[in-house]
């Protein structure tokens, strides 16, 4: 196999790895939030909302982490992956 073919194959693999990394960023963040919620369930005030004030119900850190992951995965990552694949095809 020629050196050129090998280097092209390596380049394709590297690009695919980049796509996988970008795809994984949002879900990994969400997973981080879920794991945190399991480790510290008392941080999810919605599970025991009685007597809690507005801020304890509105701002719950593990849910904020999940939200950040969702925002990135839904609003940012798809366009980045699409543009990355287009760039790879060019």
């Amino acid at each position: 196999m020629s050196t050129q073919l090998l280097s092209e194959r390596a380049a394709v693999q590297r690009r695919s790895a980049r796509t996988r990394v970008v795809s994984a960023l949002g879900p990994a963040t969400m997973l981080g939030g879920v794991v945190w919620a399991f480790l510290q369930p008392y941080r999810i005030t919605l599970l025991h909302p009685h007597g809690q004030g507005f801020w304890w119900l509105a701002i719950e850190p593990p849910l904020l982490v999940i939200l950040a992951g969702v925002v990135f995965a839904v609003l940012v990552a798809p366009g980045v992956i699409e543009d990355l694949e287009t760039a790879e095809d060019e």
Binding site: R18, V21, V22, L25, G26, T29, Y42, F54, W55, I59, P61, L64, V65, L67, A68, G69, V71, F72, V76, A77, G79, V80, D83, L84, T86, A87
Partner: protein, 194 residues
């Protein structure tokens, strides 16, 4: 209706996390792909600028001493400057890439301010510990945006820059009102909350 201070830390942590994710994606795919959609180039600079802007109400409503007020004011100014410089570069209003030095400057100013305004020792309570750790992380982390300015295509430094924001976000999420750190809680800190 004013949120307790720890909630403000958590909201800012979310902003830091989002900035970190965007910077990480940009470091992975490169500037050319990241800027294919013009709006995307504005995301993290806008977030940085907005967070700087939001530091002003934090300064007004959450500081209880001059040194706290000066520290929060310096964060507001340095974050706005770094965000605005990046916005100017993205928009094409600024051309010299050395405007990006405003980001390591913001890291250094913020790190120094957070260390100077924390009057308690490391193990006084959790928030004191976090202030020391965050301050030194910002000062050490300034090397990433600094080298990224000098070597803009080096993925290592850009990834380090992005991960610094993620780490800072995690630290800010760890903040509690009055809580022990590694089992230490000074009697002078008051009663533990949550």
């Amino acid at each position: 209706m004013q949120p307790p201070a720890e909630f403000v830390h958590w909201m800012f942590a979310t902003g830091f996390l989002l900035i970190g994710l965007c910077l990480l994606a940009q470091a992975v795919v490169g500037d050319d792909v990241w800027r294919r959609r013009p709006w995307r180039a504005y995301i993290w600079p806008s977030l940085t600028f907005t967070m700087g802007l939001l530091m002003w109400p934090v300064m007004v409503f959450f500081t209880n001493s001059t040194i706290h007020m000066v520290a929060h004011g310096s964060w507001a100014q340095s974050m706005m400057l770094a965000g605005a410089a990046e916005l100017g570069l993205v928009r094409g209003k600024l051309h010299n890439r050395y405007w990006r030095l405003t980001m390591p400057l913001a890291f250094l100013v913020s790190g120094a301010a957070i260390l100077i305004h924390e009057q308690n020792s490391w193990f006084f309570e959790r928030s004191a510990f976090l202030h020391h750790v965050i301050g030194w992380t910002m000062i050490a982390g300034a090397v990433f945006p600094l080298v990224a300015v000098l070597r803009p295509r080096a993925a290592l430094w850009r990834t380090g820059f992005a991960l610094t924001f993620v780490v800072l976000g995690v630290m800010l999420y760890s903040d509690r009102d009055t809580a022990p750190v590694f089992g230490h809680l000074s009697p002078q800190a008051g009663a533990q909350h949550r």
